[in-house]
Symmetry: C2
Subunit: 244 residues, 2 copies
């Protein structure tokens, strides 16, 4: 029966059977005023650390409600250790990148400042809200972490050698994506997609000097940033990740 | 030198060296009022059938200009024989699907009416304009064809047996995408992505009866339609298509 419950909300506090959970104001508004749920109606709740539970509305006021957490219905499971480094673009395109990356199972998202990144548009609180909404919809159990924006230079300086950094190379000098991903030597990976206009020559030179960085080509057509992010993450999940 | 020309326009009429080409009103507006080009400035033009040419503005008025076509700079090349069948969704999401599919190299796009497709939003003229814009930006030489909307039932009835139809199956009963694509027995392929809410049980049953149709799983997370389109097309290009 729990399979038929479509409503799925994130709890910022840890869950366990028999506790009472208080949805936040936005969630309560959604449950009570949008969906018009009543006492006795059931929803699903996940907390990003203990799994997914069925809960039942046991009391409500005009603005808030209390949900009694019943049994656990899915054990906790984490997505593969795949990071996304992307150069923020226009708002609606960044929205697609963040939601898509969450659905495509990244564990961490790092807004990356490159020479041509448009920096005034980086709002990590907004990204965090989008990530949670995407987790609720796509049935993920864990929530990807959003890092503060960092410069590409700084990221490369402090990079851990045991994580491969695949960067999408528009110059035609990258390996074909299937071959490069198949030859992955570590389970930890990161995908780096540059800004509109691409990486600068200096950035490409810097990347090519790092032995943890692998250049990947996505064919001859020039992909927009949001398409390239979806493309690279999908191929990684198909070849190295949890779609296998 | 032609490599540095970034402006790239589509000609609806065939091109050849030495002819004069007249941009349409929107293109002229873009060249003269947005980019403020002058006589002697060079652009690239492609016609979807003969390749790509350099052209030079040789005369202009307030509203229009004439472009003299100079030499051919890229020979004609077609994308692989890959179709996309998708159930139209909300406007901004459909925009991402159409532009992404063009960049990801589909040869034909068929808006597909399923039980849960929202049909009032299908505007094929709009799709055609978006496809051309995406071709101009991604440097494609051919232009994908947009079909009139068709019902899934009708499409399946008249399907040619020599084209595999991969349908994205959210029920968990599909094969993993890498294995299914690797075992492709024909070069002609089509990707079918269902509407929000998925295929109906009857549609799934119908698809499973067809020996040209292969069910594909994109993992346990539920992808939105636009993410699923990008994901399936990318994996196909990586494994069977022109990213190899």
């Amino acid at each position: 029966m729990s399979k038929n419950i479509k409503i799925r909300l994130f709890s910022a506090t840890p869950l366990s059977a028999d506790i009472e959970w208080l949805p936040n104001d936005a969630q309560s508004h959604y449950l009570l005023n949008v969906l018009r749920l009543k006492i006795g109606d059931e929803i699903k709740v996940f907390d990003g650390q203990n799994g997914e539970y069925v809960g039942k509305i046991v009391s409500l006021s005009k603005k808030n409600c209390t949900v009694k957490i019943l049994q656990k219905v899915r054990d906790m499971k984490y997505c593969p250790d795949l990071w996304l480094l992307f150069a923020p673009v226009k708002k609606d395109k960044t929205d697609f990148i963040i939601a898509g990356a969450t659905e495509l199972g990244v564990s961490k998202i790092i807004p990356t400042l490159t020479k041509r990144t448009i920096t005034e548009r980086i709002k990590t609180e907004r990204y965090e809200a989008q990530v949670i909404e995407a987790c609720e919809q796509c049935r993920r159990l864990d929530v990807p972490q959003i890092s503060d924006p960092q410069s590409l230079e700084k990221i490369l300086e402090t990079w851990s050698q045991d994580r491969i950094l695949y960067f999408m190379d528009e110059t035609g000098n990258g390996g074909d994506i299937q071959t490069v991903f198949k030859n992955a030597s570590t389970a930890k990976a990161a995908i780096l997609v540059g800004p509109e206009g691409g990486f600068s020559d200096e950035e490409l030179q810097l990347l090519r000097q790092k032995n943890f960085a692998k250049a990947v080509s996505l064919g001859e057509r020039i992909l927009r940033a949001e398409t390239a992010v979806h493309a690279a993450l999908s191929c990684w999940q198909a070849i190295c990740g949890d779609w296998k």
